[in-house]
Symmetry: C2
Subunit: 636 residues, 2 copies
């Protein structure tokens, strides 16, 4: 079916102007026009201004009889610190499919974290002639989902410290009487959420007055071990001075100080819940099951134990609806969730993909991006996201650049902000050939899931024909379904036409069923080891702390969860400077943590920063508003 | 002009059901219907879902030739801790004017802080049959303004600590070179915001290379005195453990620890800026002028000095647009800003009032609420808000209850959560008569601004005819234009018909010009003393710290700002237990602070908590979502 009404013909300039100049050079379609092309009834979306709308989850009920379209995931080879254009390729591919190949198509992207927009990184809406617009709305606030996560995360954090404080000064009875106060008729009763805790404790009574003193104590006293608390506060700002702090130093807090810290909001488990949930009811359960630490007896304490699962869901009730936007060429985009790609799974939301698959229908395409290199991003897409969604991708795109392959082949270090070595600016086929080992392993690892792999070489002006041919040959030799060169940054969808055609063929020619890397029934260690082998490791080494945590999570009944490795994205191994396709190393596991509500265990391979900082001259120096027109300037 | 299309006839029940039951019992009109009745063109608003819209500031340009309607402010007598129904009366009055008296009317309200909704307080959308709907949307997130404030406030906080950190380890030259890095053509240049600092420093050069080493130092090194920093972080959560914290304890921060704390977001100066700004360009200037502390030499350091005025404005660019909602009876409401009523001025925004006044036009009514009792709320409305807006109110409504007047007359203490003493439940005309001294002083103080004062007695079922007559007589004797009894909580607009008629007459019969309590040219102390006299004080006593601060602000050139007293709302005096209309006391000023960007100096009369806590059993225990319907339950 044609989407012609909202297709926008781009007038591309050379050299390519700055991203915001391109973004500001076109007038976006009113988002209701985009919705109309999708046959999306206004009952199923809420406008947020003229260029954004939240698509309501209820549309899934309406469309439950419809068939899904093709499902394509975009991953990448192990990147340089400059990034290899995965988001841009995701957008460019969709512009090709929608604006040039007359396919129904949907791009599913993560919402960028706002903090880094003002730090070093700038925005994350794609780039060049492959972008989501309006760029400023994409990068700032969007429809408030991350703000809702911040509010919910921090309400839970406040509830933890305050509960410990109130328990420290009250008898079991006083605590119980405050939790179940008499109503107007002088009767005490349990609220709905309290029955969840009673059930967990195996107390089958419905009247507060029937509880024995022992039961009163068990019910009312969470007895949280302050040293076991894993729940931190969050903020969507690059604030390095909050990484480690001491709270409770006010006189009213009576000396109940504690060391803790803030993460950036997208690192919140609530973000991971949002990305993995499948319905409002499912989100309610996951939020309630989130574990914040242990009781002194070693039992996990949940948000529901604190009385908060319902309130957290209320705070997140609008955030569960994905945000509809558009690309430069007028194809539809769903922006939703943006979990950290190491301590979480780094993929956009299941519900957005589900809605998109129904809306494009059979023969249409949903293209979704997985964070980092395919070793982490695609692996987590398959083993965590698809496991929870029940969805099956037909094709995985792996984005490669000549630059990154040269680095893997032994080229000098690539450092952000420093000029590139001449090896990267002049032909060097040998480096590309050697470096293709990295690409080859990503291809074979990804193929093993039963999908067809298409390699997209994101071409730079300095790339030569011989270098590009070398990658193509290496990719096909490694089992890729196809390998094509793309110029969507410079040309928009037109530059990704070959990629669009290759992806279509790959989707139409799937020959294998989908396979996971490991079954959930394996032990935590067996699952970690299966993933480590896919990295090329010959073994795994656990710290004492990791051993202790694995034992604890197994004892608490959480060993059946999938594994989410927190590993550097700059190498298959734990060592960021080991390029190419290393083998024979031992992967060290420093610690093991759990996001129980979201539904995964995450081993830490090395140290992960969860709160970025600001440089001496942050991006914000250039960001301002034209007060006459209201337009944002200086956003990069 | 008739608003009949969106008038909703209420079916009132007795006894009055819970607020959320009433709110959920009616289907709100689509907000575009409300806009249509206002003749508000869709170009001038952005929908945020079906029941909220942001009205764009650009409508003021369109309507600049239109005349304003009548401007009515609602204040109250000195309240009990239970509150006397000021918001409810504001809404009820508008329902009377719009739904029964066929007037064009607009209610302008503050956005409630989300944090307390989950703590003790519950929501703030009015009550009974005088409410803003949908109640859950009013109380939660709204259109993201407070979240934007949180983000902007905390970006500035992060920039302060990080700047000190970077300055501590870099030479003047290195710092300068990082602030003005070479561009692609290897040329250094200043960004626009840097010219603001250069101008402030009296450096008239445009090329970085022309600066002398001394000028490089002055420009690049802010040299912030950590002990002088008044800028705190904020969060819209009741998190008492953040009141006083130590930051910077991570190893990367190299021991640069500092004691600071979090306030609740509505206490941010940025909230006060939002409430007092008059345009996007004005907001840009105010945000840039905010002072975060001093240099070690004692000069004020601003957000613009840190390079942030533009970026803060970008974060606030949507927040500047007020949110359109509706009352239970279908009259329009603008919700905007919610500054603290003590350390800030506690009034909703100037831009909302301005838009509303144009939209109702001549003969229409805009009713706006001032926080706390009239001693603080109406005083700040007149001397701060109207001073900046240039708007002139015709009528002030003072809300009184028999309960509060009895308390002022010597009745026993009223404590939230405890049963009321029998004095409050049975006729006691003597207490009411004595207590009316409090009302009388509020009337005469408010009348002095040149407005007509109408007293609204918010009637409870236990009030008697004799008690009500006593208040009426006392009010008229004190110079009120009229005094009427209202039952809008039980009956909606119909219960405030007499009030509506009285307000209309008051507006049509203004005989005096508007007068301020003090001219801005007075010294800080003279202005403080003028306000203290209006409280009944015979003198003012300054702490050494207050003296020091007054000296500093005067030296820095800020003595021309209006004064915003941070005083308890429970007494005319500084002592919350002193009821009635005290005289002859000395008002102690503990400290003096400034919100320089917002535009006022705030003396602290006693200690103000700027971060509430959670009780043992917070409201959140009852809040949940019906996952089948998506409806919020348990919100109070």
């Amino acid at each position: 079916m044609s989407q012609s009404k909202t297709v926008r013909k781009l007038q591309v300039l050379s050299p390519v102007p700055a991203d915001i100049e391109i973004a500001n050079s076109v007038d976006p379609f009113h988002i209701s026009e985009i919705a109309k092309q999708l046959n999306l009834n206004p009952n199923y979306y809420d406008l947020y201004g003229k260029y954004k709308a939240k698509v309501l989850l209820s549309v899934l009920d309406e469309l439950q009889e419809s068939q899904d379209g093709y499902y394509v995931v975009v991953g990448g080879i192990t990147p340089t610190p400059l990034g290899e254009g995965k988001s841009t390729t995701t957008v460019g591919l969709c512009q090709a499919l929608g604006a040039f190949l007359d396919k129904k198509v949907f791009t599913c992207l993560r919402q960028p974290s706002q903090g880094p927009t003002f730090g070093i990184k700038g925005g994350a809406a794609g780039g060049g002639y492959s972008q989501v617009i309006p760029m400023d709305e994409f990068n700032l606030h969007l429809t408030g989902d991350i703000h809702a996560i911040t509010a919910a995360n921090n309400l839970l954090a406040a509830a933890i410290d305050t509960r410990i404080f109130h328990e420290s000064s009250q008898s079991d009875k006083a605590l119980f009487n405050r939790l179940c106060p008499p109503n107007k008729e002088e009767k005490r009763c349990f609220s709905d959420i309290m029955y969840r805790r009673l059930k967990k404790l195996g107390i089958n009574k419905t009247k507060p007055e029937d509880l024995t003193p022992q039961e009163v104590k068990k019910f009312a006293r969470l007895d949280i071990d302050p040293n076991s608390i894993t729940w931190r506060r969050v903020m969507d700002v690059n604030d390095r001075f909050l990484r480690k702090i001491t709270v409770g130093q006010g006189p009213e807090e009576k000396g109940m100080v504690r060391e803790t810290g803030f993460d950036i909001s997208v690192a919140s488990e609530i973000m991971a819940v949002l990305a993995l949930t499948t319905s409002l009811a499912d989100m309610r359960e996951r939020l309630g099951k989130m574990v914040i630490g242990n009781s002194k007896a070693g039992d996990p304490i949940t948000a529901d134990d604190l009385g908060l699962g319902g309130a957290l869901t209320v705070l997140m009730k609008d955030a569960i609806n994905p945000t509809l936007m558009q690309t430069l060429e007028g194809t539809p985009v769903l922006v939703h969730a943006g979990p950290f790609a190491n301590i979480a799974h780094g993929n956009s939301s299941i519900v957005a993909d589900k809605i998109a698959l129904k809306l494009v229908g059979p023969g249409g395409f949903v293209v979704t991006e997985a964070g980092f290199g395919a070793d982490i991003g695609a692996e987590k897409f398959m083993n965590i996201k698809c496991r929870y969604s029940g969805l099956t991708p037909q094709c995985a795109v792996i984005v490669a650049t000549i630059r990154a392959l040269k680095m893997h082949g032994g080229g000098p270090e690539v450092v952000a902000g420093k000029p590139l070595d001449h090896a990267y600016l002049n032909e060097n086929v040998a480096l590309v050939e050697t470096g293709s080992a990295n690409l080859a392993r990503h291809i074979s690892n990804t193929k093993a899931y039963g999908v067809n792999v298409v390699v997209a070489v994101n071409m730079f002006s300095t790339d030569t024909e011989a270098e590009l041919n070398s990658v193509r040959n290496a990719a096909l030799a490694a089992g890729a379904f196809d390998a094509v060169v793309c110029t969507h940054h410079a040309h928009g969808g037109k530059g990704a036409l070959d990629l669009g055609i290759a992806v279509q063929k790959a989707c139409e020619n799937v020959t294998q069923p989908m396979k996971f890397l490991y079954p959930l029934e394996l032990s935590i260690k067996e699952k970690i080891e299966a993933i480590a082998r896919s990295y090329g490791a010959s073994g795994v080494e656990y710290s004492d702390q990791a051993e202790k945590q694995i034992e604890m999570y197994s004892r608490q009944g959480f060993s059946g969860l999938p594994i989410c490795m927190a590993k550097t994205q700059y190498s298959f191994s734990h060592n960021a400077s080991t390029k190419g396709a290393p083998t024979g190393f031992t992967l060290p596991i420093r610690d093991v943590r759990g996001s129980i509500g979201a539904g995964f265990i995450y081993p830490l391979v090395g140290t992960m920063s969860t709160m970025p900082g600001l440089p001496t001259r942050p991006c914000f120096y250039d960001i301002d508003i034209d007060t006459a027109t209201g337009k944002v300037i200086g956003l990069s």
